[in-house]
């Protein structure tokens, strides 16, 4: 066990796996941060991720290139998010109910459509995915190099996304509007911020990001679509949103923690073939729960999260 951390080659592999396992949930968690900062709870991340995964498989299947997969995957994630935007923002339906509804709908719809589109081969399909793309010079740094700079395009996209979202959210007027809308929509409205427009943009954006997380599952990890393949990752992402205190960088750190434990459980499975692997598979979920419980201090979600805004309402 301990030799993982002593042997540079093993350590590199271990950290590499940790990072790759963290990437899909990071995309979804950043999406969750965006949507909840604007005051819209997003329990539907799981469904948006699954929609993204399905879209990625369809795009890559029909166009034969992972880039088309990313575009269709992001669009499918956005479509799923559109439901949350229309029902949760415009119609004022309880956002938790809507989110759960999205998860159930997408689960059923993708299971069915994948059989229509791929037929029986859905589980044997070998899609064209992303290949690792080493960044010259940087990749040759020992340990760190191959871990961070020997990845594929989507991982690099995530590197860009997290600081960009942090910058937008905390350093630009747009970010100020988003946070204002999430904290006090009435005040924001009075100041001339189009509350529901901002929320629409944020929810749709979160669908795109969660969709990208789904794309990563298909195009960088398993190269096929299978029923319910998001398997709770969207919910881990939700936990990461809370752990990361509604901050993209915090969410990234939380996701890296989960990736670390997920990778650890894979190693433990491999090293202890006589212990049933289920114990280890459950590890990241338990870590998420423990992390939620063991938070130091009380996390405070954006004040208006979950409350639909109506202009004339008191």
């Amino acid at each position: 066990m301990i030799e993982i951390f002593l042997d540079p080659q093993l350590l590199t592999d271990f950290l590499r796996t940790s990072l790759r396992l963290a990437v899909p949930i990071t995309f979804a968690a950043v999406g969750g941060v965006l949507s909840e900062r604007s005051g819209v709870y997003n329990i539907g991340l799981e469904g948006m991720m699954l929609a993204g995964a399905f879209g990625a498989a369809v795009g890559a299947f029909f166009f034969g290139t992972p880039f088309a997969g990313v575009v269709t995957g992001a669009m499918c994630g956005m479509l799923a998010a559109l439901i949350l935007a229309v029902l949760g923002v415009s119609l004022g339906v309880n956002q938790i109910v809507t989110g759960i509804a999205i998860n159930l709908l997408v689960l059923g719809l993708t299971s069915f459509l994948s059989r229509v589109v791929f037929g029986a081969q859905a589980n044997t399909l070998d899609l064209e995915g992303f290949r690792p793309l080493a960044i010259p010079v940087l990749v040759s740094i020992p340990v760190i190099g191959p871990v961070f700079f020997g990845q594929d395009a989507l991982v690099y996209a995530m590197y860009g996304l997290v600081p960009m979202m942090y910058y937008i959210m905390f350093k630009t007027p747009w970010g100020l509007n988003i946070r204002a809308v999430g904290e006090n929509p009435r005040a924001a409205d009075t100041a001339g911020v189009p509350v529901n427009l901002v929320r629409y943009a944020c929810v749709l954006g979160s669908g795109v990001f969660a969709g990208l997380g789904g794309c990563f599952l298909v195009l960088s990890q398993v190269f096929l679509f299978s029923e319910n393949m998001s398997a709770g990752k969207g919910f881990i992402a939700l936990a990461a949103v809370i752990l990361g205190r509604w901050n993209p960088i915090g969410a990234l750190l939380a996701c890296l923690l989960f990736g670390f434990f997920d990778s650890l459980q894979l190693r433990l499975q491999f090293l202890n073939p006589d212990v049933p692997h289920e114990i280890f598979v459950a590890l990241p979920y338990m870590v998420s729960i423990l992390a939620l419980v063991g938070l130091v201090g009380r996390p405070t979600p954006p004040a208006a999260a979950g409350i639909p805004y109506r202009r004339e309402a008191k």
Binding site: V93, I100, L104, L109, L113, G232, E278
Partner: protein, 366 residues
């Protein structure tokens, strides 16, 4: 006019189902089959043929209980999305009791196994309840995450310590024959679980209607602060609601083992816990309607196979239709009276009508 709309609104779940079936028919068309033919095969098979009814009743048993498990905490404003995990833990505890308790009369053993299953489910629900009530940890995320933990615990149990020696697939030993639940329809798999589920639905309905616990629950759900002022412990109510819910989920798992499979299987539930959410939405969190919604969903599930054989549409289309049902029910929630633009529009219109009526004073200057 308003009365008519109010009347139509009462049946909003029916409209949601109709809308879902209509959109679903496009999906069936997409798969290259005739929707009408498919639906006829489905509903005829599920509700009119003897064996079809039997298989509908088999599926109803876990669905009614799962629906109740979501409904009870929802009354107190809590989302129990962890029914799937509670089903798994209930089945695990019940199987343990069935296999390893000392010999006793059959009925007593069934009772002991059921109780054990309820305890298993309740225990699994107690964890998120305590976390929510005392540490304010979001119960939705915790119950969701715990589903995955429970499924893996059961997988571990049936592929390790409880695995039958010659099993080709991870499952436990068969439970003693004395514990098999009696069947309610001869020559089908329909077992007593469905009757128990319906009885429990009626009991919970009565408690909601006439019992203090039911009143306490909805007070907490509607206004927790007011409940606290009235001397109700919000925390204890939430915990209790989850324990009752977990027990229902646990029973659902128990009867899958005692009534149908007679063993504990790896991944034995095809998502009954999540169907419970659909049922609760459809039933508007009313325990009696839970039975109706569960009947409908059980019929969809049992008819799906028949439809697949008859028309060749993949049975997963039913999962998609279930998802559509939830979306349409959720949309229906937007048209709640007195809250929306729609309602306001109706109110202003009605006020205007009254003002126009002769003799009301509306036509005279004040």
């Amino acid at each position: 006019m308003l009365g008519a709309i109010r009347f139509l609104y009462m049946f909003k779940s029916v409209w949601a189902v109709v809308a879902a079936l209509i959109v679903g028919s496009f999906l069936i068309k997409l798969a290259g089959s005739d929707p009408i033919e498919a639906y006829v095969a489905l509903f005829k098979g599920a509700f009119t043929e003897y064996y079809g009814v039997g298989s509908t009743l088999v599926k109803m048993s876990p669905l009614v209980l799962a629906g109740l498990a979501v409904t009870v905490p929802l009354r107190a404003g809590q989302f129990n999305i962890g029914v799937e995990g509670q089903i798994y833990m209930g089945a695990l505890f019940a199987t343990l009791a069935a296999l390893y308790l000392p010999a006793m009369p059959g009925w007593l053993h069934i009772l002991a196994a059921s109780l054990s299953g309820m305890i298993g489910g309740a225990f699994w629900a107690l964890i998120p309840a305590i976390l929510k009530a005392y540490y304010r940890v979001n119960e939705i995320i915790v119950t969701l995450l715990m589903n995955y933990v429970a499924i893996n615990i059961v997988s571990y149990a049936v592929s390790g310590p409880m695995m039958a020696p010659d099993a080709p697939y991870p499952y436990s030993h068969e439970i003693p024959e004395a514990l098999f639940l009696p069947h309610v329809l001869p020559r089908t798999d329909a077992h007593l679980g469905v009757v128990i589920g319906i009885v429990l639905a009626i009991v919970i309905f009565a408690v909601f209607r006439y019992g203090t616990f039911g009143f306490t629950l909805s007070t907490v759900g509607k206004n927790a602060r007011a409940a606290e002022y009235a001397g109700v412990s919000v925390r204890r109510t939430i915990v209790l609601a989850f324990v009752v819910a977990g027990a229902m989920g646990g029973l659902a798992g128990t009867y899958e083992v005692l009534g149908l499979k007679y063993r504990l299987f790896h991944h034995f539930s095809p998502g009954y816990g999540y169907d419970g959410i659909v049922i609760t939405f459809l039933a508007g969190a009313n325990p009696l309607f839970v039975v109706i919604a569960a009947t409908f969903l059980a019929g969809l599930r049992s008819g799906a196979g028949i439809m697949q054989r008859a028309v060749g549409v993949d049975a997963t289309v039913i999962e998609a239709i279930q998802g559509l049902v939830v979306i349409f029910v959720a949309m229906g929630l937007a048209f709640r009276f007195d809250r929306t633009y729609w309602a306001k529009f109706l109110h202003t219109r009605r006020a205007a009508d009254r003002g126009l009526a002769p003799g009301s004073g509306g036509d005279k200057p004040p």
